[in-house]
Each structure stands twice: as C-alpha cells, then as structure tokens.
Symmetry: C2
Subunit: 358 residues, 2 copies
C-alpha cells in the first residue's frame, strides 16, 4: 500500500507528532492496540494486504467516502463521533444485505492543520464502533492531503448464501417494514446548523448552543447505529426479507430503489410512519412539514425491508419493526397515502437536495 | 453506501453532465459497461454491498488513497493514466502477497471543476487495468469534494492458503531477488517535473516538452504494471518465496521492512542492481547518483522477494528476475556492498523524502 509519503521517519525524536511518526510510524501507532476477534481474520494490518478466510460463507464488501465540508462539518462534529459514524454507515450497508460486518479498512487523507491527537481521536471512534460491533480493523492507508479531511472506509462482511437479501426481490402484496423511527437524524442536522449560524452570527466566545431536551435527535445525527440487532432478530425468527436497504438517503428514495429494481409499485401510509416525539417537536419549531422530514430526511440508517404478507402476524410483534405499507403492482406506481386518503406520488429526493429548500 | 449527495436527479435533462446525472445516475453511468468475469464475483455494483464467493481460497484485501497534489499532478498526468495507475498499485499489493487480484471498489471525491468527460476518462483507465488483469469492478462511491480529486481504491484478491507470502519469512542465506529494473519511475517523475518547471517558467502556449528517447521512464512513472506475470511464473515453477513485497517506496525501504519483520540482516550488491539504460542516462543528465536513484526511488511496482539458497539454479534462469544479494544474520545489519567492496548501511528513505533533496 502507498503510505503517508511526505512524512519522514525520524527515530531520534521522542515526542510523537504527525511529522515525527512518519509514514510507517503513523500506521503502526494508530493500529498498535488493534485486537483481532473475527474467526475470518487470518492476518490484519502490517503486510501488503490483509488475509481473510470466509470458509464457505459469502463475502460482502462495500465502500464509502466521506469528505470534509460535504459529509461533515468539524465545527459541530466531534472527531470521535465522526470516526464512529464513518464506520457505522459501512456496517449499515452490510446489515442491509442481511449480513454481519466482519472487517474494515480505513484510508485517510489528513491536512497539516490536524494534530496527531486529533487523528487518534478520530481513530478512537472507529475503534469504539469496531469493538461494539465485533468488527476487526485489518488495513488502511494514511496520506497527507493539501486541504481538509477525507475518510474512505471499506467494510467486509459475511452471510450464508441463502440468507443474502438484495433490493430486487419485493413482490406485490409484500409488507413494507421500517425499523426504529425516521427523520430524527435530519432534524438533528437542522438543529446543529441553526446553532452554528447563531454562533457565527453572534461571534461570542462564551456561546452555548441550546440543545436541552434535544439530545435524541443530536445523537441520531452524530452517533447513528447500524441495525445489527434487527438482523440478529430476523435470523432468530427465521425471517428472510424479500428485499432490503438501509435508509441513508431517505425513505422515499430507498423505497423507489427497491420498487425500481423489483419492478413493482408501493403504497405507504402517512399515519404509519414511525416518528419520535422530539423529531416532531423540532420540525414544528422550525416550520417544517413532518411527513416530508420523515420520508425525505436521510442518515437514519434504519432498515427498510419487505416480507411476504403471510408473515404479518409474526412481523407485527417484532420490537422496533413497523409495518408502513405494502408492495403493489408496477402499474400502480409508488405513492404515499395521506391521513385524508389522498395519494401523493413518491419522489427521489436525497437529503441534501431536500436541505437546500430551507 | 452514501452517494453523490449534493447532486439532484433531473430526468428531464437529456445531456449528461455531473449535475444532471445525479447521485445514482453517475454511478449507473460510469458502471454501465462493467462486465463481470471472476468466478468469485456473485454480484457487483447496484446493491448495498457486492457479494463474493472465495470458495475455499483465502481472501486478500488492500486499500490505497491517492490525493491530488500529493500523489499526482494533473498538469502532466493524463486522467486515463491516473485511473490505470490507481488500480495497478492495488493489484501490485495483492501480487506482493503471491495472490491474484480479483475485484476492486472505487471511491471518488470530485470537485466541480471536473466535467463528466474527465471522470469517464479516469474510469476508462481503471477499466483498462481491470480488463488487462481480469479484475471485476464490483462497487464504489462517488461524492462531490470542495477541492481537488481524491481516489480511494480497495482491491480484493485470492490465494491458496499455503501459497500466501508474508514479509516475515526471510531466513539467513536466502537469496534476495528483484524483478524488472529499478529507479525508472523515479527518473520519469524527475523528467516530468523538470519539463513542468520549464513550461511554467516560459509560460509559452506552444510549449512542447522534450521527451524524445525518454518514453520508457515516462511509461514507468505514468503507466506502471503490477507483476502478475511473475506471480504466474513462480506458480508454474512451484516456487514459493519466503518473503515478498512490492517496491512502492523504494528498494531500500522495502528491504528494511522484510529484514525487520523477519528479524534478519541483508547484503545487496551495487553491481547487481538492475537498471535500465534510459534511467542511467537521465540520472547522469540530472547529476543524480544512479545507485541512490535505484535503491531509494519509488513507484517501480517491481516485486522484491527472497527464496532459499537451494533454489539458486532455478531462480537464476527466470526471465526478469535478478538476484541482487542475500539475507544475513540480524547482527550483521542491512547493507549495500559497493563496487569497491565498501559496506554502506541501508536507510529507509521514501521516495518523496528523497525527492525533497533536489
């Protein structure tokens, strides 16, 4: 692998900094506490490539790139949270295949304005995520960058061949289910952005943002969780969804993907959308339409999946799983049925496109 | 996976641009011609994760990040070459484990100054590399960036469990072998940098760089090849090296890694270093010490490996393989033996650190 190649090794310097650690030193330093726990990990960091053994299981692999100023704003994102979230969005993709995340590789581009302590902070979040989800960090690359912070994470996972769930298996009359609640991460972002604007406008050094009672939506934005718990429940209940995705861009957008790839239509019901009380309060305070927030706000990292209608009795009793509608024939199109019975065609609108309305 | 989330889907616009293609459109557009050829690829681009099946083989995985202004300069690097090289450096890491590259995932951060045609050009280089090495592109992520171009590639490969070669298996008296020739990529970079400075100094619109007769070193810098051919030859000859790396940071640096991880020393001989005639001419023209160029210049992507002394007769007849020295006891240290018999201690100096001397 290419390494942090503008830094020079200097063994005489005892105080560790990005400059003194050097290319190989930084990687060693950041990964010195890595413990490998996955049976499928033969060899992690320290050679040209990691060596894995999925022994009869299928291998899942996904990659994400996060760029400063586009995906995160360090004004209000603690680096540890950022590391945690960067790992989590990848775990979520593996869960969305009905798989179990097993290994990650982390590639970083770091500008000179970052100190070693900050990169360690970022890594501590990645490690926390790995520890909590039983995932091994097995490789990476670190480079200087001219500007800003870039985080590119690749995650591997495993699944039994007959348990993998794609986006294209939804059938008419299947139930549409979503886990947890929707729109909270989006409202958390709106709150952080509002306080940032207030802060920048007032330019006060003793500024204290007003987050009282809003902790839930902040946590949903800053420290999301992949729904590994749901994957485990589905396995325990011997339920294999017909189609599944994670909600990263917004329910509406993800549902349209499932419908497009499965060649079906759908109906979801406004009064069935799971929304937390804090999300609702915040949307009202900011004069935003709550249903729009719930279906177009992104980054919830909940699971959206479909199951055969015959499983209705079993699915409706599952904790944290909500039935919000059903799959229809393709010619019926994709629509949201409002509280007063109107049908509104679903549109693919990513969360940032949506954000630009405000 | 997160997608290009500041771009908005617009189906009404018929002329494809980065803006009109939108987040999912861009990925579809760039990967529309992907053909999957690897037996281990079950499902490529288009779901939350790719699905692979290594069926009894070990899985190898490596990741690299390339940043504009650090790893490449678009003044003299054609985008197609850049894509080819970005893929190749990852293939090389898999070869360095004595494995076969099988799949890649490509994550891009692209600033607004790039047009769709340019990103297609970059991808065409990646595809060419994949085609020539039989590798499947199975996933990726594309995002806007505030500045510059970022390319993060993850490569998977496969190997039989008993054929994987690590860095830590070199034993005293093992032969040290290197493939191809050394220092050419570094001299190619020096030439490109010199012509860039001339160009910028003169500020001529009709400037023609002077590359006549220098094509070899330019190609080594701009279009390196992973030594998959050597891996195939070793397999055919039933030779499994005791330790192996690819030469990305420079022979000296890589050899020190092998010696450190294997707890051994080494002797390499100045008069055995394989150097191309064009490299030598260019070094003389630029007043650079040729041996320094050969042992510290990086990006050759040749293979450096060790084999038991008993294999001497078989290894010495292999095409493109050069025996340059032998492994010694740890207490003997690591040294280059000059033409006049002096021993010079090897030092780890990455190629850019080296470049900063000039």
């Amino acid at each position: 692998m290419l390494k942090l190649n503008i830094m020079v090794m200097d063994n005489e310097n005892t105080e560790a900094t990005l400059e003194t650690l050097g290319e190989f030193g930084l990687i060693k330093y950041l990964t010195k506490s890595v413990k490998l726990t996955q049976k499928s990990t033969d060899k992690g960091v320290g050679d040209d490539a990691a060596v894995l053994d999925f022994a009869g299981k299928k291998t899942l692999v996904t990659t994400d790139i996060l760029l400063e100023g586009i995906h995160f704003n360090l004004t209000y994102t603690p680096l540890k949270h950022l590391g945690y979230k960067a790992a989590m969005v990848n775990f979520s993709d593996i869960c969305a295949m009905n798989g179990k995340p097993t290994q990650i590789l982390v590639a970083l581009g770091v500008s000179k304005r970052f100190a070693l302590e900050q990169i360690e902070e970022l890594y501590s979040g990645i490690y926390l995520a790995c520890e909590q989800y039983g995932v091994d960090l097995v490789g990476g690359d670190t480079s200087s960058s001219l500007t800003g912070l870039t985080i590119s994470i690749t995650c591997l996972g495993e699944a039994d061949a007959d348990k993998i769930v794609y986006r294209n298996g939804a059938k008419p009359n299947d139930l549409i289910c979503v886990t947890g609640d929707l729109g909270a991460a989006y409202m958390g972002l709106q709150l952080l952005e509002r306080e940032r604007r207030v802060f920048e406008g007032q330019n006060l050094t003793d500024f204290q943002p007003d987050f009282a009672g809003k902790e839930y939506i902040l946590e949903r934005q800053l420290k999301p969780e992949a729904r590994k718990d749901i994957i485990e429940i589905l396995a325990k209940e011997h339920i294999v969804p017909t189609a599944m995705m994670d909600v990263s861009d917004g329910l509406s957008s993800e549902l349209l993907h499932i419908c497009s790839q499965s060649a079906v239509g759908c109906r979801i019901y406004e009064d069935k959308l799971p929304i937390d009380y804090v999300t609702a309060t915040m949307a009202e305070e900011m004069n935003l339409n709550l249903t729009t927030v719930a279906i177009n706000g992104g980054e919830d990292y909940e699971l959206l999946f479909t199951v055969p209608l015959a499983l209705y009795d079993r699915v409706k009793t599952l904790d944290n799983v909500h039935i919000i509608g059903h799959i229809a024939d393709k010619q019926d199109g994709c629509a949201l049925v409002t509280r007063d019975g109107q049908e509104i065609t679903l549109q693919a609108r990513g969360w940032t496109a949506f954000a630009s309305e405000n």
